[in-house]
């Protein structure tokens, strides 16, 4: 289920929501962690991970392709 947010590192800054080109990640509230709301619509472009200031995002590939 790509991408995955590490709740222990995430500060809730919302950058991943902002830079996702596909409206896949939603952070509706500063107090909450971002939600990967439409994981099946991820392009694996890497934008959220590249721009996360806390390095809290990693990619997990579906078992079917590994």
């Amino acid at each position: 289920m790509p991408p995955r947010v590490d709740a222990t590192k995430c500060t809730g800054c919302g950058i991943c929501d902002l830079v996702c080109p596909g409206d896949v990640i939603h952070q509706l509230d500063k107090e909450l962690h971002p939600l990967v709301r439409y994981p099946e619509e991820c392009w694996y472009c890497g934008s959220c991970r590249a721009d996360c200031p806390e390095e809290a995002i990693s990619y997990v590939f579906p078992a079917v392709i590994i």
Binding site: D17, P21, G22, E41, C42, C45, P62, I66
Partner: protein
């Protein structure tokens, strides 16, 4: 809903000289070009931020350029065999414009910080690639190119409207007067009034099933759904080359760009028996046009010599390092994928396969599919311009930047000639509003998933590697049903509304693809258009472009031997 454009659920009405639709490689440069001409510019982008959107969201590893660094590196050298390589489907007038202007674009991009030059030598690192025997490519560290473009767009004072899905053009008779769209998060209806509109919405992805079965794991950006092509077509614009669907080679189960870069740096293409097979299919071997490499691979697999591999194992460690750097710059997650699969490029050949078909980036080397533009990037509709992968001329990011800039400048010039921003008719706005918001206002219906899945199955079954009249007619019939299904789409939130609008555009584009494929009774640029009932290339009858257009609500096709013979050029 009672209609009427002034409902409380509507967004603000935006008025400007030039509206640019799509904030990718072409759109950012169109906005910059128009702004530099003094126009008041609005850039509407579907994604959350123009710092990461479109095909360049993930980055880029190479540009195609003409820099005058060698005798072959001139516009004349570049154009010399271009028609032949593109099987006579490339617009030579636009190719000339591109060849003469791309060097200035590279210098401009360098001036805003794009790292084209090798850090150690201070020179451009030129390499060959698929479709290019000569080292016409520049390898660059382009992972963050979009951020640099976005910074410049903002610095120049372009008004950027993000999370905005522009869906239809507004026209007064034969003239473009703006566009309408919905907010991606708000689901509200928005009106853009403009003297000129530039469409830079990218290619058409999600038309065909991906090899991995994961719809959004596509070579090109899956959020590019032919929005510009569809809205232009609905407004009466001409499209061309729609029958030629793009296909490249991608790592098995991970559809991504970047393999061309491997070949450029010396990787070999081999079959399961370890044979380098491309010489059999094209005199240029592994540097053959992209479509020929795909076709050769399809033959090898069909004849039991697959799986096929890109083999880097003979290359020295420093080249392997450059290859990995290229992948990192193009799409870093590809390296994660290779790691997860346990593939080390220096040790293991990489299994690859033909990707899902899409439209946009050139299916050969410059010849693209989409909105027909002239050398000023103007369409056949007054005040409507286009550039990049949504047009019929594309070298990917390079030409998107170069012609995007030109489109912006020309749109600004056109806007300068208009005294006022025209007003669209209120009645039309109400109709648009009702249609755009219909899926979210319905109580029951079908999901965009159902419609899109049906579309992709149809395209794969009847409009794939092998086509024939019977199959294409079946696809057209099925598309008629899908056009009816569009009237039943149901969205339960703004995100689903966005996908519903995209799926409607996909159906419109698909109809142009199938119609043109049925009309062209020959095979050309195989496998982009292979008709099993007309398996040979027929230069006598078909060395020409098919131009497709809606007239009086009907889809019509005209053939032209050169694209601008109707006086549009």
């Amino acid at each position: 809903m009672d209609g009427g454009p002034r409902s409380s659920s509507d967004g603000l009405e935006v008025v400007c000289d030039v509206l640019v639709v799509g904030g990718g490689a072409a759109g950012c440069l169109a906005a910059i070009g128009a702004r530099q001409k003094g126009a008041d510019v609005v850039l509407a982008e579907k994604g959350g931020s123009i710092t990461r959107s479109g095909n360049l969201a993930s980055g880029i590893d190479h540009y195609i350029a003409v820099l005058g660094e060698a005798p072959w590196d001139t516009p004349e050298g570049f154009l010399a065999n271009l028609e032949e390589v593109n099987e006579y489907l490339v617009d030579m007038e636009l190719a000339g414009v591109f060849a003469r202007e791309v060097a200035a674009m590279v210098r401009y991009l360098e001036s805003i910080g794009v790292p084209f030059r090798d850090k150690e030598t201070g020179r451009y690192r030129r390499v060959p690639g698929l479709s290019s025997q000569k080292p016409r490519l520049i390898n660059l560290e382009g992972a963050d190119v979009k951020k640099l473009l976005a910074r410049e767009v903002h610095r120049l004072g372009v008004k950027v409207v993000e999370r905005m899905a522009v869906h239809d053009l507004l026209t007064n008779g034969q003239e473009t007067v703006g566009a309408v769209g919905v907010g991606v998060r708000s689901g509200t209806f928005h009106v853009f009034r403009a003297k000129a509109v530039v469409l830079t919405t990218g290619g058409v992805v999600r038309l065909y099933p991906t090899p991995s079965g994961l719809t959004f794991m596509s070579h090109h950006c899956p959020y590019n759904t032919g929005d510009g092509q569809a809205m232009a077509f609905r407004a009466g614009a001409e499209l061309t080359n729609m029958e030629f669907t793009y296909c490249s080679i991608v790592p098995k189960d991970f559809s991504t760009a970047g393999i061309s870069g491997l070949v450029g740096l010396g990787a070999r293409i081999i079959n399961a028996l370890g044979e380098r097979y491309m010489e059999k299919y094209h005199p240029w071997g592994e540097k053959a046009p992209r479509n020929a490499v795909v076709w050769g691979t399809v033959q090898e697999i069909k004849n039991g010599r697959g799986p096929c591999y890109v083999d880097c194992t003979h290359l020295p460690p420093e080249i392997i390092g450059l290859i990995k750097l290229g992948i990192q710059n193009e799409k870093a997650t590809t390296l994660d994928f290779l790691e997860a699969k346990g593939i080390d490029l220096g040790r293991d050949p990489l299994e690859f396969e033909p990707q899902e078909f899409d439209l946009g980036v050139s299916f050969a080397f410059g010849a693209g599919s989409g909105i027909l533009i002239d050398k000023t990037c103007a369409t056949n509709i007054e005040g409507l311009f286009a550039a990049g992968d949504c047009t019929h001329f594309s070298f990917g990011a390079t030409s998107a930047n170069t012609l995007g800039y030109r489109a912006g400048q020309e749109a600004a010039k056109y806007a300068g000639l208009c005294s006022t921003v025209p007003s669209p008719a209120e009645k039309h706005l109400a109709e648009h509003r009702d249609r755009l918001l219909a899926p979210i206002n319905r109580k029951e219906g079908i999901s965009h998933h159902e419609l899109e899945e049906k579309l992709r199955r149809t395209m794969a079954r009847y409009v794939g590697f092998g086509r024939n009249a019977r199959g294409l007619e079946t696809a057209l019939k099925s598309l008629q049903t899908m056009k009816g299904d569009r009237q039943k789409l149901l969205a339960s939130n703004p995100h689903e509304l966005l996908r519903s609008l995209e799926s409607q555009n996909l159906v419109d584009v698909a109809e142009t693809v199938v119609t043109a494929a049925l009309e062209r009774k020959e095979s050309r640029a195989v496998p982009c258009h292979y008709r099993a009932d007309f398996p040979e290339r027929d230069d006598e009858n078909w060395k020409k472009f098919l131009v497709i257009k809606k007239e009086d609500g009907m889809t019509g096709i005209k053939c032209r031997s050169t694209l601008h013979e109707d006086g549009s050029g």
